[in-house]
Structure formats: C-alpha cells, structure tokens
Amino acid sequence: MNRPTGSVTVLLFASAREAVGRGELAWPIPPGGLTAAALVAAIGAKFPRLRPTLATCRFVRNGGYLDDLETRLRPGDEFAVHPPYGGG
C-alpha cells in the first residue's frame, strides 16, 4: 500500500494565499519521498491559479531560504511560499 510517510506544512502568503484560498496546507509525503521542486509542481497542479505566482516566488524551508529545489523534504518540515516582497 502506498501510504504517505508523514507530511510537510506549506505556508502561503499574500497573492499565493489568495490564489489557494487558505494560508496553510498539510501536504503528504509520498512513499518515494518529496523534493521541494516536486512539491512546488504538485501544488501548482492542484491549484492552477497559483501557477503564475509560483514562477515569481522564493521558497523557505524551516526558516532558511532554499537555493536548491532538489532538497528532500522531511516529515514535519515547514515549507513557505514567498511571493515578491512588498513592504513599505
């Protein structure tokens, strides 16, 4: 049986949150594991309105910016989607 092996928490801000309709998702990790790139592709497939935003985003794993999207995510990780910043 292909049961998930835990999940990551996806945090969505601003335009990303508005495209999805909520600010947090619990995303299951499939048995073969999950890279950041695979997660981004999967949430883009599930929420087509999010796709244009994703192309402009930075990604943060457990408080640190991700340079390598081939990073494998672990159960309990926090994965944040950051659209371009707009303070001020």
Partner: protein, 161 residues
Amino acid sequence: MSVRLTDEPLRVDAAMRELEGPGLGGVTLFAGRVRPDRGPGGRVVALLYEAHEPLATRALRAIETEARRRFRTDRVVLWHRVGRLRVGEVAVIVGAACSHRAAAFDAARFLIERLKVAVPIWKTERARPVRRPRPRPGPSAGRSRGSGRARRPAAGRSRAG
C-alpha cells in the same frame, strides 16, 4: 527599540525620540502612508500587511546592523506595521541620526530600499469598486461615444512609501 514589527500604530514623534543622541546633528525620517490609489478592483480603501515571522524581524535586524556599520551611527529606526491599515495610516517609518545630513539621508534611503526587497512583508489591496457616471443623454450623446471621456480607471497598484 530600533527594529519593530507591530500591529500598533506607528508614531513619528516616538521615532524622533529614538534618534536622539549627543553630536547627532543630522536626522532623516521617512514615513510611508497608505495612498488611496485606484487599482483594478477600484479605489483602495485599505491595505492588509502581513509578515512571515520570525524571518521578517531577523531580516530587519540584519538591515539595521548593516546600516550601523555602513553609515557609522548607533541611532537607526526601522519600524513596520502589520494588519489592516486604512488610507492615510503610517505603514512604515525608517530613520537615521548621524553627525551630518549627507550620511543621514543616505542611511534612511538605504533602510527603506533594503526593507522593500529583503524583508518578507506583503501588502494586499482592499478596494471599493468605483462607479462611473453614466453619460447624460443630449444632442451630442451619439457622437461622444468612444470619445475617451468615460475612461476606465487607470490600472495600477497602491503603494505606501
């Protein structure tokens, strides 16, 4: 505190007090307020500011540290508000106190420009649709169609600061 991320109103006089110090003859303060711009959704009535904490505070502190080193001052203010802000409310205050004006101006510009690109803070517009008045019927009504008088609201984004 010289770095602040808060849902409380920001006060320019409090920021000014934060920048007091002996020999600091040049003080520059910048305050950014919510403007009533027109966007695709209508006239902006408020902006919703949000931040990813604790990353945002960490980024503000890094900018503060860099500004102190680069402009040789101990007096820096880097304050940002979060939550729903109505038109006219202050969203951000940055400031620096230095011995002379040139460094104070440079430091304040550095603070706001870095804040805009390096701190995970976002704003989302809350707009009210703008009703366009119907053209009055009259002798020239037929000819005026398409004359460009009843223009669509200009597309744009609201900015504070």
